[in-house]
Symmetry: C2
Subunit: 201 residues, 2 copies
């Protein structure tokens, strides 16, 4: 059996764990299934993780992938005009390219049990919301939109994105999220961008 250093094996295990959740649902994430997918025996898993909760905490850390990309995106649109449209599009692009991560990001019930999972989840979601609010404040400062509360707008935008993604997931990822999502978002963008124009009159 080819041995991996614990760093690499941990990544290998979490990669497979995410795949299992994505394809079969959280209930299928057993140590047995995981060991099978990783091609080691069950006890080998415990060489790298203390227990199952430890594994799930590491799965949650995968959400950081998204947050990192989100921050990169935010840096890349500084100075651009339609930051909101770009932000929405970024979400759809990212998720379409990484469907597996939607099985973690949009499945709050997975992380409900355990000692430290709920707190960690709340912290992650709060932090991300903060990022979006800041983007919207930036957009507001550069007059991309006016007269609206940034954080309330964040709720509208994020809620919209979540539902569009959920429908895509429930369809079995059966169509292009980017096309469908951006088509639907025209209405939301219309509302936001034209609200500013109306206020100018």
């Amino acid at each position: 059996m080819a041995r991996l250093k614990t760093e690499d094996r941990r990544k290998n295990i979490i990669d497979e764990a995410v795949k299992i959740i994505h394809k079969q649902g959280f209930e299928a994430l057993t140590i047995r299934e995981l060991a099978y997918r990783v091609n080691v025996t069950e006890p080998a898993i415990y060489r790298h993780f203390e227990n199952k909760e430890d594994i799930i905490l590491s799965i949650m850390d995968r959400m950081n992938e998204f947050d990192e990309e989100l921050n990169r995106h935010i840096e890349s649109v500084k100075g651009k005009e339609r930051k909101i449209a770009e932000l929405i599009n970024f979400h759809f692009l990212f998720f379409e390219k990484n469907p597996e991560i939607t099985s973690i990001i949009f499945s709050e019930d997975i992380f409900r049990n355990g000692k430290s999972l709920p707190d960690k989840l709340l912290s992650i979601l709060t932090h991300r919301r903060g990022i979006i609010c800041k983007v919207l404040e930036d957009a507001k400062r550069s007059r991309e939109y006016q007269g609206l509360s940034s954080c309330n707008l964040a709720t509208i935008i994020l809620g919209f994105i979540r539902l569009v993604v959920l429908r895509w997931r429930l369809s079995g990822f059966a169509y292009s999220l980017v096309e469908s999502g951006n088509s639907e978002s025209k209405t939301l963008l219309k509302l936001i961008y034209n609200y500013g124009k109306q206020l100018k009159i």
Copy 2:
């Protein structure tokens, strides 16, 4: 042991099942826990339900409670002016009054496994979306709003509501959903209602 007719016992069992999911999460819904809560032994459960999946299908039927109330609400606002605002408020009122049902309605992953669960879920969600679209078409016909696609608007509104409710749930139902939700929805209503006004100019 006081015996109930199967009709009553089934209701008793599903009531308790919903409570378990709400308080402890889906994972806690074992036949053992359920029997304990109902005050019968495990095999007694099987007098009334074929198997666990049968139980879960019946839990899903509880979503009909909401849809029935939704239809009642729709009937009661016919002819009124701000149907959209009323609709959003209805959601928050209903969920605040029935927090347990949010543990079913907003937990798609629960219903992921099993032979018939995913299809049933999709059917329920599609049907409900259809209802909301119709309400919005009605509102459009009575010029409550203009220039927007009803179904895209439904996505925006439903997505918003879902996220507001999710945050309430994650807070441990720690504040008034009606107050908080309606406060946040002012921005969305502003967008929708003012868009119509802008088009008139």
